[in-house]
Symmetry: C2
């Protein structure tokens, strides 16, 4: 007689649903390995979320992610305590990519070249990733915990490149990091909302880059 009723294990309540945010190799909070189907579903959910959030941004309904992953919402929530947690998981990976790029650019020989080259890469990587644009633009979301750390890393990476480029005389004085990032994210938003082609995006980035160089300022 399978004990049908009961509150079925503290699985759900046991606290922690969150515990570990990654569970990389199938290990759960404690040392116990995840069941095979759970592992598979978790991966599917992440894949689906990546596609859906990239296409529609944060505002995409959770149900859509679940459907796309071929699981029920309940299952989704078993793996991620809230929609925000799932969204963060996606954004985090993307952010880490940008952070790595920024850090690499902080030590290059040609500071000016490194700075401008980063700006172009940044724009290229953010374009068409609605989720990243939303996160960077903080469109009605409070990305926190895990992500805020990466944001700060990204900021300080850009700050470093900016300062070095400034010292090298490749960037006009007085520019701040939030301004640089604001301009870039603005360009990406513009490209997306008007469905401008890649050529236009590049041209807008060119304009921003050229505008950042020392010069007229009249």
């Amino acid at each position: 007689m399978t004990r049908g009723a009961g509150v079925a294990g503290g699985a759900a309540a046991a606290g922690a649903v969150v515990g570990d945010r990654d569970a990389p190799a199938g290990a759960e909070g404690d040392g116990r390995p995840m069941r095979a189907d759970a592992l598979r579903n978790r991966r599917r959910i992440l894949e689906a979320a990546e596609e859906v959030f990239a296409a529609q941004g944060v505002s995409a309904p959770v149900d859509l992610v679940a459907e796309r992953a071929g699981v029920g919402v309940g299952t989704l929530y078993r793996h991620f305590p809230t929609k925000e947690a799932l969204f963060e998981a996606i954004v985090l990976t993307r952010l880490e990519d940008l952070v790595a790029e920024a850090k690499a650019g902080g030590t290059a020989d040609d500071a000016g070249e490194a700075f401008y080259s980063f700006l172009r890469k940044f724009a290229g990587k953010v374009s068409n990733k609605h989720d990243l644009i939303d996160a960077l633009g903080a469109q009605g979301i409070d990305i926190k915990s895990s992500c805020s750390e990466r944001f700060e890393e990204l900021e300080s990476g850009v700050e470093r490149m900016l300062r070095r480029a400034e010292e090298a005389g490749a960037v006009r004085d007085g520019i701040t990091t939030p301004e640089v990032l604001g301009l870039l994210v603005g360009v990406c938003q513009a490209a997306e909302r008007s469905q401008l082609d890649d050529r236009s995006s590049e041209r807008m980035v060119d304009i921003v880059c050229d505008g950042l160089r020392p010069g007229p300022t009249m």
Copy 2:
């Protein structure tokens, strides 16, 4: 009973211009004049909507506008068939202001000066108007009918200034109007979301302006 009372009586009436877009002199569809209270409420609703939408953008709840205007939602809907219609009414006035500015700039002597001067004015007028930013950025709204005409007028006005400035050698070749507007709206969005001060906004506009000038492009 959810909605409730508790409210501040509103009627702040910041310095907003509320003209009479639709019912110019209190006349209704047919020739009959509107009742005095209806006219008064209509004006109050427009004033409230102007404040609320400027502060919060399209996503502001209708109930909030009604509350601020000191009327019930029913009354609001008696004057405007949908939330969108109300929003459009607000945006329309603001747009007309921009259109007028753009047209004026299309005939100035110094084409380059006129173009760049418009860009700065544009940024100044759009900043802090969350509703306009939303509308220009088309953030999840289908601004149509009445507004789309103004949008086109704005676009063609900017187009004209841009082409004249280009011919005068004050702007690099190959730039399109959507790119120019995209950059500007992007700057305004950036300024708002990061709560950058006016100094930063101006600096970003400077960067865009300088970047638009003929030059390096490397």
